[in-house]
């Protein structure tokens, strides 16, 4: 299983891998916002956390559809499904590798992009922490969509559409936790705890559902 984790990491940084694509997309989305909104620094600082979260959400959806499709196309999925170790463990490891390759760079890039949005240190720190806690949930939810659409030749957009409604709560609680951290009266912990709960919930449900979907798509 560790071998699978490192192989997926290696693949994501090789040609055709998705590791940098997500960060570049994230950067593009956030970098054009100030041009569209205009040079009102207070406004930018106010919408900054929300923009960072939306950018990160869309960037993590990118490339999710290839999670199992690439394995299926070259026949590796057959071999992974035949093993004695449960399929859901392999799915969990693949999600972990996918998040490390595409989700973690987003978290690391977010402070620099926060500067674009004229956010102060507190807001940048809170955004980074909530992204760290929330993006794994998007990967787990996306794994289910990717498994459902594994047999479809152009499943990319379908995966995003399937996944988006489930990812909305992550966005809501992520953004509200950041605002709670920077605006005084609201407490930070309740929305942040719910965000962590969502991640843990999908960390359990996601691999089980994805493994079941993969078994049913076998032909």
């Amino acid at each position: 299983m560790i071998a699978l984790f490192f192989r997926d990491l290696k693949l994501s940084v090789r040609a055709g891998g998705g590791a940098m694509i997500g960060v570049l997309f994230f950067m593009t989305v956030v970098a054009v916002i100030p041009f569209g909104v205009g040079p009102d620094l207070n406004l930018l600082a106010r919408i900054g956390p929300a923009i960072l979260w939306i950018g990160a959400l869309l960037a993590s959806l990118l490339g999710l559809d290839r999670l199992f499709q690439a394995e299926r196309e070259d026949g590796s999925l057959d071999l992974i499904m035949m093993q004695e170790t449960p399929l859901l463990l392999a799915v969990l490891v693949k999600c972990a590798a996918h998040w490390t390759a595409t989700g973690l760079p987003l978290v690391i890039a977010s402070p620099f992009l926060g500067l674009f949005m004229n956010m102060d240190e507190g807001a940048i720190g809170a955004t980074m922490v909530t992204l760290l806690a929330g993006t794994p949930a998007i990967t787990f939810i996306g794994a289910v969509g990717a498994a459902v659409a594994v047999a479809l030749p152009r499943g990319g957009l379908l995966v995003s559409i399937l996944v988006l409604p489930l990812a909305i709560p992550v966005l809501i609680f992520g953004v509200s936790a950041v605002y709670a951290a920077i605006e005084d009266p609201a407490p930070f912990l309740p929305p942040f705890m719910i965000l962590i709960a969502i991640t843990l919930f999908f960390g359990v449900i996601g691999p089980v559902a994805a493994a079941a979907a993969l078994r049913h798509s076998a032909d």
Binding site: I2, L4, R7, R14, D74, G75, L79, E84
Partner: protein
């Protein structure tokens, strides 16, 4: 150890593609599945490999090692696709499968340099898999069979895209596996040159 298939049938869409197929293979025996295109050879292998649910019947293992429920856990499956990543080098691919698959009880895989030598391509394992020709890719997929030990080999058109010398080389690998008490099920159009192999002719259904 015996690999048993009892009354297997499988469905593709509406139609039964084959019906009531049974065989039993003891250690050291091979089964060659022949038949025209569309007769269900690949489907039969996928059923035996546990990748497709049979419509009826079942596949089971008799006298296998403890703790293995389905023969698929003790099987190598070499399908139409090679299950190797184009972006990784041959060495990285083989190392991954060696570590991921691990050895089944009762044997051990060989070193991957030796395996590459066994398929006659030891000098190109540093190349990305995508740079190799179709025949070389197929040979490397065969090397995967010997880097991790599995007593049962399920081979779907193993010698497609291979030249005559690779054909012979492959027949040698299969014979060596059978000598060690392995079981081989191969679907093929070409003779594999296996002496004493059982054969199963699939006719397909006439509509």
């Amino acid at each position: 150890m015996r690999l048993m298939a009892e009354g297997l049938s499988a469905r593709r869409g509406e139609d039964l593609i084959f019906n009531d197929i049974s065989f039993a293979l003891a250690a050291g025996e091979a089964l060659v599945v022949t038949g025209p295109n569309g007769a269900g050879k690949s489907t039969l292998l996928r059923v035996v490999a546990g990748l497709l649910e049979p419509e009826s019947g079942r596949v089971r293992l008799e006298g296998g090692p403890w703790g293995f429920e389905h023969p698929r856990e003790l099987s190598h499956y070499l399908g139409h696709r090679n299950a190797m990543k184009r972006e990784l080098t041959v060495e990285e691919n083989l190392t991954f499968w060696q570590r991921f698959l691990g050895d089944s009880p009762g044997g051990s895989g060989i070193d991957l340099v030796e395996a590459a030598e066994a398929v006659g391509l030891a000098e190109i394992i540093h190349l990305p898999f995508g740079y190799l020709s179709a025949g070389q890719q197929r040979r490397m997929a065969m090397a995967k069979l010997i880097v991790a030990f599995r007593p049962i080999w399920l081979l779907d058109e193993p010698t497609a895209a291979l030249d005559v010398s690779a054909d012979r080389l492959f027949a040698g690998l299969v014979a060596a596996h059978l000598d060690r008490g392995g079981i081989v099920v191969a679907a093929t159009h070409q003779p594999l040159g296996l002496a004493g192999a059982k054969s199963l002719e699939m006719t397909g259904f006439v509509h």
